[in-house]
């Protein structure tokens, strides 16, 4: 006769729990091991059509690079390369089915759009079908005068040799460009930037780092951005928490807060800033600084500089003139001190309990000499000769 054993209910429950736990761990490790035994599958769509030279090209892409290049032909060539990394061809095909690159090409208007359907959630818990990875790259060759409207998310953008206007929004991606003759309107968040040989740029930048070289006009609104500018004819900026380095160029206009700005050999400077640090070296023609709670250093002021105008509140100014230059000084300080070197020939000095006025000149007393004009409330002004 066979005896039947009955386990207590609690013991059975514990056993089942342990069993499920072990299986869970086993399934986890199985899945982790198999997470990428992948191959790359690719799909390339190529289209080429004749278009008007001034065709408008709209591009919208995600998860991949976009490269646009101008060429000397009245044709547009679009190449959309989708690459899928998957464990099998069947798995790759499922991903390809989700990704559609729509290309609508007419002579005056071209639309290129990437659409990605959301992944179907599978009831099957085992690995294989859900681990596919993908990227979508778009490459466009177009007539140089073509205008471009571009949106790219999570992928870099490259623009070369284009004459038409460009409007671009780039989220979490780098922007590289050169030889861009039209006006560029750029909205970029999180990424690097490197533009060379451009004409006009109007940019909104957040958390961007890079350089802008050789441009006629640049207008930037930026936040927590670090940029190096070289040879910009006219640079207008509205900044916060930024680090700017400007080498050479024409005029620099800035309105900002909490910045650190270094200018070297710029022709004309006009800054209105608070809680910032400003370093101006060898400014060639004019300086106008209105600063609040800041630190301003203007060094190596050359004889070519016509006027240094300083207005400050709770700001510490230090001006260092090149040796043997002729300069006039007119400074008024309220609740602040003015310090000057022995080389200054004082023509008028009035000091009261809350006001200090100094007038004088360095070098020869001719009226064509440069002028340092300062009006300060609190803080201080120090003039030095190198």
């Amino acid at each position: 006769m066979i005896e039947s054993y009955k386990l207590p209910a609690r013991v059975s429950l514990c056993g089942a729990f342990v069993f499920v736990l072990l299986l869970t761990l086993a399934a986890s490790s199985l899945k982790a091991q198999s997470s990428c035994d992948c191959e790359t599958y690719s799909r390339l769509i190529k289209k080429e059509y004749e278009v008007y030279p001034t065709v408008l090209v709209n591009i919208s892409n995600k998860y991949g690079p976009v490269r646009i290049e101008g060429w000397a032909q009245n044709r547009i060539r679009v190449e959309a390369l989708t690459e899928v990394q998957a464990e099998s061809e069947q798995a790759a095909a499922q991903v390809f089915d989700r990704i559609k690159t729509e290309m609508n090409i007419q002579q005056r208007l071209v639309n290129i759009q990437t659409e990605i359907e959301p992944a179907k959630t599978s009831w099957w818990p085992f690995p294989g079908m859900q681990t596919a990875d993908y990227s979508i790259g778009i490459r466009v060759y177009l007539p140089r005068p073509a205008a471009i409207s571009l949106l790219n998310k999570h992928g870099k953008v490259e623009l070369r040799n284009i004459m038409g206007n460009i409007s671009a929004e780039v989220i979490s991606g780098d922007v590289f460009g050169s030889d861009l003759e039209g006006e560029i309107t750029l909205n970029q968040k999180d990424g690097a930037i490197n533009l060379e040989q451009i004409t006009r740029l109007n940019a909104d930048l957040v958390n961007v780092e890079g350089s802008l070289t050789s441009a006629e006009w640049i207008k930037v609104r930026s936040r927590s951005t670090a940029l190096r500018f070289r040879n910009i004819t006219k640079l207008e900026s509205e900044t916060r928490y930024d680090n700017y380095f400007v080498d050479g160029g024409g005029s620099f206009f800035n309105e900002g807060r909490f910045d650190e700005i270094s200018l070297d050999q710029v022709r004309e400077v006009k800054i209105r800033s608070s809680l910032s640090r400003l370093y101006l070296d060898k400014i060639r023609s004019n300086v106008e600084v209105e600063a609040d709670s800041s630190r301003v250093r203007i060094t190596d002021v050359p004889a070519t500089c016509r006027k240094v105008k300083l207005e400050g509140r709770f700001t510490d100014f230090r001006v260092v003139l090149q040796p043997s230059v002729s300069f006039r000084l007119q400074a008024v300080a309220h609740h602040a001190g003015i310090r000057y070197p022995r080389a200054l020939r004082v023509t008028e000095e009035i000091e009261t309990s809350d006001r200090h006025t100094v007038k004088g000149y360095f070098g020869q007393p001719h009226s064509t000499a440069g002028l340092v004009e300062a009006s300060i409330n609190y803080g201080g002004l120090t003039i030095e000769e190198d």
Binding site: M1, I2, S4, A16, F19, V20, L21, L22, L23, T24, L25, A26, A27, S28, S29, L30, K31, A32, S35, Y63, Q85, I116, P118, A119, T121, P125, F126, P127, Q130, T131, A132, D133, Y134, S135, K153, H154, S172, K189, D190, V206, N207, R223, S224, R240, Y241, R257, F258, L275, S276, S293, S294, R295, F314
Partner: protein, 186 residues
């Protein structure tokens, strides 16, 4: 007629026929045989039940394992799912941000950065949303951008605090207040 006589014979001699009863041993064997069949059926049912339970548990375990270890980014909602390293960094940033924000609040200078921090929070929320649909290789980039946005928040707070302290070294921060709910930033 003959049949009636036979029936009558049995009727009259019934007591004699009933005198022979099978032995108890015979009855015991019959009962044992019947019990044996019943036991076998019971064992078969039990084995089938255990097998069904094992299959059920196997599927549950595999399903749970698959669910918890999934690499599909659509299942990623929090940074914790991407990796403990990132989650630890995020937590460290959160703590640092909270600390510096409170410090700035004590200088009563929160207004200077509030909008910019809110914008960064919006970007962080967008990136988190993006994580749900991004392909795996991009998910890691997105997490890096997320952390970068936290770093920027710290950088902004540090710079503002630094400038305020440099400009007014004598100004003591206001007495620490009990943090209000809207003073908290995430």
């Amino acid at each position: 007629m003959q049949r009636d006589q036979f029936e009558q014979f049995i009727h009259h001699n019934r007591d004699a026929f009933d005198g022979d009863v099978p032995e108890l041993k015979v009855w015991g064997s019959i009962r044992q045989e019947l019990d044996h069949r019943k036991q076998r059926r019971l064992v078969l049912w039990r084995v089938a039940g255990v097998a069904a339970t094992v299959i059920g548990l196997l599927f549950c375990g595999a399903a749970l394992g698959g669910y918890f270890s999934t690499t599909d980014p659509s299942a990623i909602v929090a940074l914790d799912d991407v990796g403990a390293r990132y989650a630890a960094q995020e937590a460290a940033y959160q703590e640092e941000i909270q600390q510096k924000y409170q410090q700035l609040a004590s200088y009563e200078q929160v207004g200077a950065v509030h909008k910019d921090l809110e914008r960064l929070d919006a970007t962080i929320a967008e990136l988190r949303e993006e994580l749900k649909t991004a392909p795996p290789s991009k998910a890691e980039d997105i997490v890096k951008h997320l952390l970068e946005n936290y770093r920027v928040k710290v950088y902004i707070l540090e710079r503002v605090l630094n400038r305020i302290q440099m400009t007014n070294p004598d100004v003591e921060p206001a007495a620490p207040k009990k943090a209000r709910t809207d003073d908290r930033i995430i």
